[in-house]
């Protein structure tokens, strides 16, 4: 069982290797220690617009949103402080709160002020919107499939397949299907008068189409897990409630939902972790364009690497790691653990 050591060593080694790499700029293969210049460049230098978005000319609405979220976060933080949270808990809450305020600032400064987004906000958009859409549709389908219907196995097999298809293939398939002039939907585009519209030059349309492709692939994952959870809900309680004359909505809210809730939050967590890594789809469907509108952080880092700017590339990758860990850990601590405690 010493093999355990061999199994862990490469992973561990690469992690540590990566940690120290960040502080270097690669110039050929010679390293120069530059402290955090690479990181600072992402936040304040000429890379700022690429990474964070354009932050000038913040509108009143943007400021109002930022102040509101900051106030709410601070209130939440001080409430937990007064309730006597432990020191580690406070540090964790402080980090989560700072991240929330930071993201709120970015949201207010870019989206609500009409400025373009950077790759950080695009990644967050894929994660938040993508996860919500996929969870709602996936759970809805699972609920329908858990009803007494015939052909359940057929649907189950069919709905599972997209999950396993190479993401690259999914990207090309959707690029083709969504083609305005040659794609299968061309009569539809003609009918609504969009035959000259190129969605790949429209930032929002491009983002939504990337989410469409992503959802096609990932809804099956949520569907499969939620279906299993729904089939584990005890029939006795549901039937007892039906005999007592409870409506369908009541049954779902009072009996089914509490039982599937722990699985639901766990599956969202797993999906979130994967969603932060999105790269193939935007790369294939839009190459990150128009401009940088659909560029996720992984893609950003990859483009920097291709331009031989290894220091910045590693810096972006590390910022992604920090973002992922903080968001996922916050979600886990405040929502998943809370739900698990409630059911136990």
């Amino acid at each position: 069982m010493l093999l355990l050591v061999f199994a862990i060593f490469p992973t561990f080694y690469s992690v540590v290797f990566a940690l120290s790499r960040v502080k270097f700029t690669a110039n050929g293969l010679r390293f120069r220690f530059v402290w955090f210049d690479n990181f600072l460049a992402q936040f304040s230098g000429n890379e700022q617009a690429h990474f964070l978005g354009r932050l000038t000319e913040i509108s009143v609405l943007g400021w109002a949103f930022f102040v509101a979220v900051t106030a709410a976060t601070l209130w939440w933080f001080f409430k937990s402080f007064r309730n006597g949270a432990s020191a580690i808990g406070l540090v964790g809450r402080f980090i989560s709160a700072s991240m929330a305020i930071f993201i709120a600032f970015l949201l207010g400064a870019t989206l609500l002020s009409g400025n373009p987004w950077g790759t950080l906000m695009t990644t967050m958009f894929y994660v938040v919107v993508g996860c919500s859409v996929q969870f709602l549709i996936g759970t809805g389908l699972a609920f329908l499939c858990s009803q007494p219907i015939s052909g359940k196995n057929f649907f189950r097999v069919l709905f599972f397949i997209p999950l396993m298809i190479t993401p690259l293939g999914v990207g090309y398939a959707f690029k083709m299907v969504l083609d305005i002039t040659k794609g299968p939907l061309q009569p539809l585009w003609d009918a609504v008068g969009l035959q000259n519209w190129a969605w790949s030059t429209d930032a929002w349309a491009a983002r939504w189409f990337v989410i469409l492709g992503d959802s096609w692939q990932w809804i099956p994952f949520i569907f499969i897990v939620m279906l299993a959870a729904l089939e584990n809900v005890s029939r006795d309680q549901v039937e007892a409630a039906e005999v007592d004359g409870a409506s369908n909505v009541q049954i779902f809210r009072e009996i089914t939902w509490p039982q599937i809730m722990p699985v639901a939050v766990t599956v969202i967590l797993i999906r979130m972790i994967e969603a932060f890594k999105i790269v193939d789809l935007p790369n294939i469907m839009t190459s990150g364009g128009p401009g940088i509108a659909t560029e996720s952080m992984t893609l950003h880092s990859y483009f920097l690497w291709r331009a031989n700017d290894m220091g910045s590339s590693a810096a972006v990758a590390y910022l992604l790691l920090i973002l992922t860990v903080v968001v996922c850990a916050s979600f886990f601590n405040y929502i998943v653990l809370g739900q698990l405690r409630k059911t136990k």
Binding site: L3, L4, A7, I8, T11, Y13, V16, F17, A18, L19, S20, A26, L29, F31, G140, L144, C145, Q147, P148, I149, F155, R156, V157, L158, F159, I161, M164, I165, T166, P167, L168, G169, Y172, A173, M176, V177, P184, Q186, P187, W216, I224, A228, A229, E239, V263, T266, V267, V279, D280, I284, M297, T298, Y302, A314, Y318, L320, L321, T324, V325, C328
Partner: protein, 394 residues
């Protein structure tokens, strides 16, 4: 109309009631039945359509693609095999001899890899018939990485499920510090990596005992397991540049071995996680009685535990194989021509000056996804039987 049907049913339910209320417990009302089926069929259509479109486009020629959408083969357009000819045999170098050579190299590489993983594998000729090359590369890398990953991962998972490890906190600290020192020494002072690694390891064994006494706190199996699983959170882009540098230093860029190692390590967390769940679910009495009869630890693992977890093992292997087959990001960094896998080759088709030749692209996508779809259908049986779900539910 409603009157007659009411009479036929001999029921006092009104039309609205019959539409919206279930006739009995465990059945569905008419309206909800119709809604359910139509939503499910709509989604089925949505799932099938992109796949269908890719498959029929693979049988189109340039005109059929460019002159607007045609939907049904033999009705809208005449299917032909142009695209397939390009990939499979119109390439002038791609004759029976080339294919034979590929197969011989495939066997040789597999054999060489088993005999000695450190020798560099014989490169398959990059110019000869890229489709076959990429396909055999994908098969070799996928299968080898899966076998490596599942064998290491399941042993590690079994160890974590049955043996109590208590690594001392001090030792872990020493290890981290020395690894850090090794890397700093290698990259600043220009000391060769093999020298600094050797010194680091020696120092670790010397210092481990001393530090172990100083910091007595120990970590448990739960901590190790959590740490392994938490590797999943790490975005691959973070480690990819250091890995690229590492393989550059040891001269393994664009070899099969590099991709095999990276894939095996990348999928280790999933394998350990899934297999740990299966092993922990086994009754320990069986193993204890075998131990009383004098079976060795490895004997128990091989003869008793593995056969009992066969469905779980099969499902894990299949899942790992699919993930390896689909992997793109690592491959795009670590392979340029010789060890190109299928996804890289498909992506490279995009780079041509003529724009994307959709029919050729589709043919190759079909070649790429057929194995995955077949594996997915087999894997689905395991999921339906609830084999994998225990792990997913965490």
């Amino acid at each position: 109309m409603s009157d007659t049907s009411l009479k036929l049913e001999k029921s006092d339910r009104s039309l609205v009631q019959r539409l919206f209320e279930a006739p009995a417990i465990g059945k569905m009302s008419l309206v909800s039945k119709i809604t359910t089926y139509s939503v499910l069929w709509f989604w089925a259509l949505f799932v099938i359509f992109p796949i269908y479109w890719v498959v029929i486009t693979a049988f189109k020629d340039a005109a059929a693609v460019n002159q607007g959408p045609f939907y049904i083969p033999f009705v809208d357009f005449q299917p032909n095999l142009d695209a397939w000819r390009v990939h499979l045999y119109s390439d002038p170098y791609c004759d029976a001899y080339a294919i034979g050579r590929q197969l011989v190299l495939l066997v040789y590489n597999t054999f060489a890899f088993i005999v000695s993983p450190v020798i560099s594998l014989q490169a398959m000729e990059p110019q000869i018939c890229k489709t076959y090359l990429a396909f055999t590369n994908s098969v070799v890398i996928g299968v080898a990485a899966t076998l490596l990953c599942v064998s290491i991962g399941s042993m590690a998972a079994y160890a974590l499920a049955r043996v109590q490890y208590k690594p001392k906190f001090g030792n872990v600290l020493v290890f981290v510090l020395l690894a850090l020192g090794t890397i700093v020494a290698t990259s600043y002072a220009g000391i060769p990596w093999y020298f600094s690694t050797a010194v680091g390891l020696v120092l670790f064994f010397l210092l481990a005992r001393a530090f172990g006494k100083r910091f007595k706190n120990t970590l448990g199996n739960g901590d190790i397991l959590f740490w392994i699983i938490s590797q999943r959170i790490l975005p691959p882009i973070v480690v990819i540049i250091p890995i690229y540098m590492m393989f550059q230093a040891v001269g393994l860029l664009d070899t099969h071995l590099a991709l095999i190692i990276v894939y095996a390590v990348a999928n280790l967390p999933i394998v350990v996680w899934l297999m740990h769940d299966f092993f922990a679910g086994l009754p320990i009495e069986l193993e204890e009685s075998a131990q009383l009869d004098g079976a060795s630890r490895f004997g128990i693992f091989w003869d008793i535990v593995l056969p009992l977890t066969r469905p779980g093992l099969a499902a894990t292997t299949l899942l790992t194989l699919i993930l390896n087959w689909n992997e793109y990001l690592f491959a795009v960094f670590l392979s340029t021509s010789k060890s190109q896998t299928m996804p890289i080759m498909v992506a490279a088709k995009n780079a041509g000056e003529k724009g994307i030749l959709w029919w050729e692209m589709c043919a190759i996508i079909v070649i790429m996804i057929i194995p995955v779809i077949l594996m997915a259908i087999v894997l689905q049986r395991f999921i339906a039987r609830g084999v994998l779900l225990g792990a997913v539910k965490g």
